[in-house]
Point group: C2
Chain length 298, copies 2
Amino acid sequence: MTGADFDAWARQQLIDVEHALEAWVPLAAPAGLGEAMRYGVLDGGKRLRPLLVMAACQAVDGQAAAAMRAAVAVELIHAYSLVHDDMPCMDNDVLRRGKPTVHVKYGQAQAMLAGDAMQALAFEVLTPDDDGGVPPALQARLCWLLARAAGHAGMAGGQAIDLASIGRALDKNALCDMHRRKTGALLQASVQMGAACGACGDAAWQALSDYGAAIGLAFQVVDDILDVTQASETLGKTAGKDQHQNKPTYVSLLGLAAARRHAEELRLQAHAALARSRLGAAAGALAVLADKVVEREN
Amino acid sequence: MTGADFDAWARQQLIDVEHALEAWVPLAAPAGLGEAMRYGVLDGGKRLRPLLVMAACQAVDGQAAAAMRAAVAVELIHAYSLVHDDMPCMDNDVLRRGKPTVHVKYGQAQAMLAGDAMQALAFEVLTPDDDGGVPPALQARLCWLLARAAGHAGMAGGQAIDLASIGRALDKNALCDMHRRKTGALLQASVQMGAACGACGDAAWQALSDYGAAIGLAFQVVDDILDVTQASETLGKTAGKDQHQNKPTYVSLLGLAAARRHAEELRLQAHAALARSRLGAAAGALAVLADKVVEREN
């Protein structure tokens, strides 16, 4: 897949995902809750997770309607985690995606509720009452993949390790374990959810899962690099805060040059996994996404 | 069903539900997260929602393995909502089920994460990877019922109305709307999830849903009554806080005597709905639960 082909493909996916988010995140929810939910998830973000879902679905020639629900659901989980993570009792951040964070704009109580309701909505979107063209067995499978990645063994567990690690020295294994859960689990689940939307043999499933694990970790290594090399304006969020909060990062542990080499290794691992999947050109968008994750500047 | 028969039945259900919660809420989750989750859900609570699930399942001769997962899931959602609701940015409460609240014991950040992880776990429990003896279509149906009841249209939406209503006068319709969402939706969903575990015709489904709506509202009316008539020791949570926070309640709106009459009316509505269901003696536990909801003293 050429860069231009990918760009055209991604542009269309992003339009479709945005339409689906617009349609499914309710403005009509009571007492301003819908407004806070929409503020937290619409009109911002790179939508990397939805792109991974759609690219993996394409790689296995999967069901687009199911993948779109998975894409919206995983973005809702990601967005809710940011809303909660930004709150004063967690990271206490005021800037996200270039805008005031949800609790700054709507108050802490509404931000907490909006995050809670976004998580519930993710699972509601995955299990449409009228089945929405998605076979029930696939609905259940997608719920399980997402719930496991979002919960104690995945994202929430990683955040708990993150909390407990402030000001402490972690070795590289412990740092990797934290990030595999905190960021990696949901990125890997995005790939797995897309792959679950089509027929996918065990070997290809394992290869795509390996791909997801590699880019999941690469994403965080690059995040740590950008946190020290980019300005807040470029990032759309507060730069330098890991260092400020005395959090262990790949950069603080390995140094900047070694962190960059590690990101490059993970990119190669991702491409090697795609080769093992034997999906060929169908996995073209996944290949480009591996590069984008490592080359990104915000 | 006699009172003694109900008591024996309920005692066994509670033992089974507690075992399932013990087994499925992970102690091994990292960095103390599992401990905070278990503290938030184990060893406390009346387990009304699980009892409603099991009683409704019994009424339709449903699949016990599925109902047990639904019972655990709905209790996890209820427990997470209490953990978040007790936090300083919401109700700022220090006592729950006779113990310090989760944020008092583990800190606000861990309490927020524990609540988030409990919600994710609810949906993980509903969609077992190995199918756990629950047909995938039922898994998906249970997810949808729970997600809708927990989210913006249900519990979270009701909490948002609650937040917005502090210090404001609500009329009876607005108060009912708030409580139908905030408390009623999850109680009704408990009945519906139990009913979904068996074969249940449209008329019986509607009747059981009506039953769930009636006891859902009755529960809150009684909650409002107990808030002014009982001591904190009996309640296991802080008494008198609605009045203290200047929140509209059935008692502040109708007066104590009229609130009691309203609870009695709702109890009769619940029994009338059970009669319409034509489930006969199989719905015996549901009938007793309607009485218990209205007669409870904590």
